[in-house]
Amino acid sequence: MGYVELKNINKHFKNFHASKDINISIEKGRLVALLGPSGSGKTTILRMIAGLENPDSGEILIDGKVVNNVPGSERGIGFVFQNYALFRYMNVYDNIAFGLRVKKVPEAKIKERVTELISLIDCEGLEKRYPSQLSGGQRQRVAFARALAPNPQILLLDEPFAAIDAKVRLELRTWLREMITKLGITSIFVTHDQDEAIEVADEIIVTNEGRVEQSGNPQELYKNPATPFVARFIGNSVEVKNYEKFRYFEKCSGDSTAYLRPEFVSIFKKGESVQFANSAEEAVVEDIIFRGSNLEVRVRLHGNLISSIRSINDSEIKVGETVDVFIYRLYVVAGDEVVLATNTSLQDEDIVI
């Protein structure tokens, strides 16, 4: 049984059905991402766990106890808001101490705990600063410390990296993951960024239109998308309608569409590939995008614009050049079914993503 469980949760905002029969189970000590596009209901789930919203029906359980009627402040949670919601008129010390002061902890103990947390988040010397005098990354860390101060059992984070610039975001992701792993606190964070979810979380819960589409560890989601939405959403998928025209692929059923990710495609300069010399198809390069550490090559194949990643160490390809394209596999979506179709010329070989 999970440490945090949601059972058949429904939530409406006026006429908007924000949560539809949500069932989630999160084990103790896990770092879980709620991943989905905006408006998919992920923040609503987080706010219901925190007690900031009440579900219309269904049960929320923490540590085996139904907490629907327990106020948020008594659920043993720490919450990090999207814009941190630091108290603007209190300095860093008072911000972190707030939760302890409310609980009437003796001032000496508060001092001990706040000092400990400030050193944990590497913000020594900033105690007297106000939130406006901190950088985005520092604010994030102070918000994290403030949420942790009263020793919560569960940490909830709403889009924790959304308000930070790209460079610091990457550092903070690693930092946050390390911190949470070190503390062993059950954590749930909301994000719309799949890279973030895949990199930081042990487990991802994908939400869409108020439903949970799939949950599992990042590799599982990547390898075995359970629903058409996940197949489309995870990875930089390209939609391919006439995939049966690709060599060595057959139409699965009448009305089906395929999703192709760049990592399923290899592009070779003419004569470069020996392995796939006979099974590759010819296509013309339409666009090449320099991505710093690699190149994205786009080719037109049977009317579809297909992307693939090429290393900058490979021999140069130019726009307009005719190249060999080999497709390893693609996801075929027929109705509610997702099938992984593999290039039939590879049938006996085992390829690991």
Binding site: S73, E74, A85, L86, F98, Y130
Partner: protein
């Protein structure tokens, strides 16, 4: 910057217009008040200002103003809090109605109360049986003053509270803080300067209120005459020295309020810079 350089002529033209306008419509009349008040010499002025009825009128004005500020502060905070932190049916209607006193003529405001609490009203016998007199008495004046200054404080608070959002309050409440603690520690520091500013505006407006109070007062000298009403009374009686001397009291009060306003605005802005 370029634009400003090119428009130097326009800049000075606008400065001239503004100063002439202020001079003619504001400074000149104020100077004229002082001159007329002192027309009969300093002793005449002192006599007029220390007149028993003048002092009573001034005290009544201060009394009505104090009530208006107290009532509207409480109501203003409550209404602004309600409008910005909760969502409920009829919220738009409520916030529109709060602004009503600004759009309605004060005379009408006065008449509304006469109709509500006067002899022809159904409430009158009940009030009368308890010995409560509202019309042509001090309570009426206080009511009228409260009515016209009704929106000033909440209108200052709503934008500040809206800009702040509810995150900080939610954060505090998740940590177990009670409503009062949240207000005192989180919300109040935000609205402090806006609230003071609203109080100042409310005070200024309350002191000068004429129309609504005039309808409800009954003009009993020394009893229900506020300073503006008293001034009018003297003026109608061709006692220019008295009228202008009494006016000068109001002017001094207004200047004090103006200076307070400046100080508050400055302090508030400085703190805003710090807490962006």
């Amino acid at each position: 910057m370029e634009l400003r350089k090119e428009n130097k002529v326009l800049k000075y033209f606008l400065i001239t217009i503004s100063f002439i306008f202020l001079g003619v419509f504001l400074i000149l009349p104020l100077v004229y008040i002082v001159i007329t008040a002192l027309r009969d010499g300093i002793s005449g002025y002192i006599n007029a200002v220390s007149d028993e009825y003048a002092i009573k009128a001034a005290l009544l004005t201060i009394q009505a103003t104090a009530w208006a500020v107290i009532v509207n502060t409480i109501f203003g905070i409550a209404a602004a809090w309600l409008i910005t932190k909760y969502s409920f049916k009829g919220k738009k209607l409520l916030s529109t109605f709060i602004d009503l006193p600004v759009t309605v003529s004060p005379i009408i405001a006065g008449l509304i109360y006469v109709l509500t609490f006067g002899r022809q009203s159904g409430l009158y016998p009940i009030l009368d049986s308890y010995g409560i007199q509202i019309i042509f008495a001090v309570p009426g004046i206080v009511l009228a003053t409260i009515f016209v200054t009704f929106p000033f404080i909440s209108r200052e608070l709503v934008p500040v509270l809206t800009a702040q959002g509810t995150d900080e309050e939610e954060a505090a409440s998740l940590m177990g803080a009670g409503t009062f603690t949240i207000f005192r520690k989180v919300t109040f520091p935000h609205i402090k300067w806006a609230l003071l500013y609203g109080v100042v505006l409310c005070t200024a407006r309350a002191m000068g209120e004429f129309g609504a109070v005039s309808v409800l007062s009954g003009h009993l000298r020394g009893k229900t005459n506020t300073l503006p009403l008293y001034i009018e009374l003297l003026y109608q009686g061709y006692d220019f020295t008295g009228a202008f001397a009494a006016s000068s009291i109001l002017v001094v009060l207004a200047v004090i309020v103006l200076i307070l306003r400046l100080v508050i605005e400055n302090k508030g802005n400085k703190e805003l810079d710090l807490n962006k």
